[in-house]
Subunit: 414 residues, 2 copies
C-alpha cells in the first residue's frame, strides 16, 4: 500500500477500506507516514467526507492505536462528553453525582483551546489538583470512590493525540468524520457501558448552527452504535453561557453551588438531563423521568458534594468551599430594553484577554479570572443596570475584555 494512492482515492471521492485507514494511522504513529501526507489526507477527508462505514473504521483504528482502560470494578461504567461551550461545567457535577448511584465514571478529559474551556483547567483552579494520574491510580480511585476526572494517558489513542495537534495547525479541525473519530476513540478506550454526548450549538459553541450540530450528533450516535457502544446524544443551546459563571475558578464555585443543591437552574437541569439516559441504560432507573427525580433528590442530599470532595482529595487537591477570585468590577447596560444577544465568540475571547484561556497550546492560565453574567437572553433591563461582573487581576486585559463584552451585548430597544 502507498500512502499517496490512499490520499488520491479519497481526493477522487472513493471510499477507503479499513485496511487502508489502518495502514495510514499506524504509519502516522510510527513515523513512516509523514505529517505532510497525513495533513493532505485530513484535508481530503474534510472536503470529500466519509460515509458511515469509513467513519466507523477510522474511529476503530484510532481507538486501537492505543490501549483501553481496565474494568476495575463490577459496577457499570458510564461517561459524558461535551463538544464544548462557554460556562459548561456539567462534568464536575455529573461525575460525583452518578458515582453516588454505584456507577463508575472514568472521565478522561482535555484542556481548553480557543474560546471553550477545558475540564482539567477548571479542576486545576483547585490548589494541588492532579490531572496526570496513571492507569493504576485511576483503577484505585474508581474502586474506592467510583469517579475520576483526569487527562488522557499517553498510551491511550496516540493516533488521535498526534492527529489532533496536526489538525489544529492545518485547518482540518471542522470535519464531522475526524471529530467523530477523535471524540469516540477516546471514549471507547474508557471501556464504558453507556456514553452520553452533549452536542452544543450556537455562538458560544464549536458548531455555530443547529444543522451542523445535528449532523455531528447523528454521526456520533451512529458510529457509537456501530462500535456496539450504547450512545446517547443531547443537543444543547450555547447561544449564551451555561449558568452565570465563565472562567475556571468561577465555574468550580458555581459547580459547588449546584452540588450543594442550589446554583443556576440551567446548569442543574442540563446535568440531570445528561445523567438520566445513563441511569436508565445501566438499570438504575426504569424511565428518564424517574431518573430525573432520583438524580434531583440525590443532588439535594449533599452526598454528591461529599463525593466531589473525596475526588479532589484523592487527586491531591485541597478542597475549599469556594475558590478565591480576582478583583470584581461590573459593566452597566448602556440602554433600557431587552437582552437580545450575548455573543459567545466575543465572551470567550474576553476570557482569553483576561488570562483565563489559551490562544495557543501551552499558554499558562490564570484560574482566578472570569466573569459572572447577571442577565440572561430575554431579560428586560434598565440603562445603568449591571449586566456582567468581571474578575480581573491587576487590570490585565480589562480594557480589551470590556470592549469585547460590550460588542457582544445587544439590547433591543422598546
Amino acid at each position: 500500500m502507498l500512502a499517496s494512492s490512499i490520499i488520491a482515492k479519497k481526493r477522487d471521492h472513493e471510499k477507503l477500506s479499513r485496511e487502508e485507514i489502518e495502514f495510514i494511522l499506524n504509519g502516522f504513529v510510527d513515523g513512516t507516514v509523514p505529517d505532510y501526507q497525513m495533513s493532505a489526507l485530513a484535508m481530503a477527508i474534510l472536503c470529500r467526507g466519509m460515509d458511515s462505514e469509513e467513519i466507523a473504521n477510522l474511529t476503530y483504528c484510532m481507538w486501537k492505536s492505543g490501549i483501553s482502560l481496565n474494568r476495575s470494578t463490577d459496577r457499570p461504567r458510564v461517561d459524558k462528553h461535551s463538544t464544548g461551550g462557554l460556562g459548561d461545567k456539567t462534568s464536575l457535577i455529573l461525575a460525583p453525582l452518578l458515582a453516588c448511584f454505584d456507577l463508575d465514571v472514568p472521565m478522561l478529559s482535555g484542556r481548553g483551546l480557543g474560546i471553550t474551556g477545558g475540564t482539567l483547567d477548571k479542576l486545576e483552579a483547585i490548589e494541588g489538583f492532579r490531572c496526570d494520574l496513571n492507569q493504576s491510580e485511576i483503577d484505585r480511585q474508581l474502586r474506592s470512590i467510583g469517579c475520576v476526572i483526569t487527562g488522557t494517558t499517553p498510551d491511550i489513542t496516540p493516533a488521535d493525540r498526534k492527529l489532533y495537534a496536526l489538525r489544529d495547525v492545518t485547518g482540518t479541525v471542522p470535519s464531522v468524520a475526524l471529530i467523530t473519530a477523535s471524540i469516540l476513540s477516546k471514549k471507547l478506550a474508557e471501556s464504558l457501558d453507556a456514553l452520553v454526548l452533549d452536542v452544543k450549538f450556537g455562538t458560544g459553541a464549536f458548531m455555530q448552527t443547529y444543522d451542523a450540530a445535528q449532523a455531528l450528533s447523528d454521526s456520533l450516535v451512529r458510529t457509537g452504535q456501530q462500535m456496539r457502544q450504547k450512545t446517547f446524544s443531547i443537543m444543547s443551546d450555547m447561544n449564551q453561557p451555561l449558568g452565570r459563571m465563565v472562567g475556571n475558578g468561577c465555574e468550580v464555585n458555581e459547580s459547588l453551588d449546584v452540588l450543594r443543591g442550589s446554583g443556576p437552574v440551567p446548569v442543574r437541569e442540563l446535568t440531570l438531563q445528561l445523567s438520566a439516559p445513563l441511569m436508565v441504560a445501566t438499570g438504575r432507573a426504569e424511565t428518564e423521568p424517574q431518573a430525573m427525580v432520583m438524580l434531583s433528590k440525590k443532588l439535594d442530599s449533599g452526598e454528591p458534594l461529599d463525593r466531589f470532595q473525596k475526588m479532589v482529595e484523592y487527586q491531591s487537591g485541597k478542597f475549599v468551599d469556594a475558590i478565591p477570585l480576582a478583583t470584581a468590577s461590573v459593566l452597566k447596560c448602556p440602554r433600557t430594553g431587552t437582552i437580545e444577544n450575548l455573543h459567545g465568540q466575543l465572551i470567550g475571547q474576553a476570557v482569553i484577554e483576561l488570562g483565563g484561556g489559551r490562544s495557543k497550546l501551552g499558554d499558562p492560565i490564570d484560574h482566578s479570572v472570569g466573569m459572572e453574567f447577571l442577565v440572561r437572553l430575554g431579560d428586560k433591563v434598565n440603562e445603568g443596570q449591571p449586566w456582567v461582573r468581571i474578575f480581573c487581576n491587576a487590570g490585565r486585559g480589562l480594557a480589551e475584555a470590556t470592549a469585547l463584552l460590550n460588542r457582544g451585548l445587544t439590547i433591543q430597544g422598546d
Copy 2:
C-alpha cells in the same frame, strides 16, 4: 498572517489574496511554512478550486520566487510546453527548427515520471549530452545557435520545484490551478515573447478526457494573457502514441528522421502546427498557413538537422546518425480485424517495465529500450501480422511488457 488561517479560508471556499499567496509561498521556500501546512493547502486548492485572479497571483508569486533568464540577444524568444504524452518528441525538432528562423528557443525542460517521458531523458540517450547548463552557458549557446534544451537551474522558480516534489507524494498533482501555476511560472522565467502550449488528451495523456484538457488549456491561456505573455494553445490527441517510436533512444532516432525531412506524418504535422503561431506572433510569417509552408520547406532543407547537431555538440553530446537500440522482438496480432485501441496507460507502463521510464523519482533509465508501433488506430490487420516491435535488454521486463501491451491492444472483429 497565519498559515493556518489562510488554509482555513481556502477550505471554506473563500478567495485568497496575492499577499496571502505570497506569504505562503515565501514561507514554504524559506522553511517557516512547514510541508504539512503546504500539503493541506494544496489539497484544499485542489478540492475547492481557485478563480482566475487567484491562479494568476499563484503563478506570479511562483514565478517571482526565483530569477528569470536574461534576454541574451535581440532576437525574439519563443518556446513550447507540452503537458506530456507517449512518444511526444516534438521539442527535439521544434527548438532547432525555429532557431533556423532567427528565433531564440531557451527551452527549460524536465524529466519523466510515470508513464510520460521527459525531454531531458530523451536527449540523455545521446552520449555525453549535458542537461545541467548554468545561466551563462545558456546565454552563450543562445547567442551562438539560438536554441538550448536543458534542465531548470536551481534559482528558477524554487517554490515550484519544492511544491512539485510535495504534490507528487500527497495526491495533489491533478489541480488545474496548481498545474497552471507550475507550468507557466517556469515558462515566464524564460523571458519569452511568445509561448505555445500543447495540451494533450486521451489514454496516453495526463488529462484523460477532452473536457479536462480543455479546462486546463483555457486556464493556461487565460493566465498567460493575464501575465502579459502571448500564449497559444493547441489541443492534441493522445489516444495512441505520437508517431511510431516510444522510449528515449527510439524517440531521438525518430526525431532525427523528421529533421531529415522524413519520419512519421503525425510527428511532423504537430511540430509544424505548434511552431506556426510562434512564427506569426514574432513576425516571421503573416499567417499560420504561410508559416506552415515556410516551416515545412525548412525541415526539408536539412538546416534544422545541422542546428540540432550543433546543439548536441554545444551541450557536450556526441552526435550520431542513430542511437543504438536494444534487441528487437515483435508481437503479433491475435486475430483479424480493425485496431480499435492502443491504451496509453498500459503502453507507458510497459516502457517502465522495460527500464525505459521511472516509477519513482531518481530511478535510473535504460535509454536503449522502447517500442515501435507498426499499426495505427483504424488500421485493418490480419491474424499473425506484427503490430509492435519491442526493444529490450537481456529480457528485462519483457514478459511484463508483453502482457501489458497485449492488454492494451483491442482489435475489433468483422
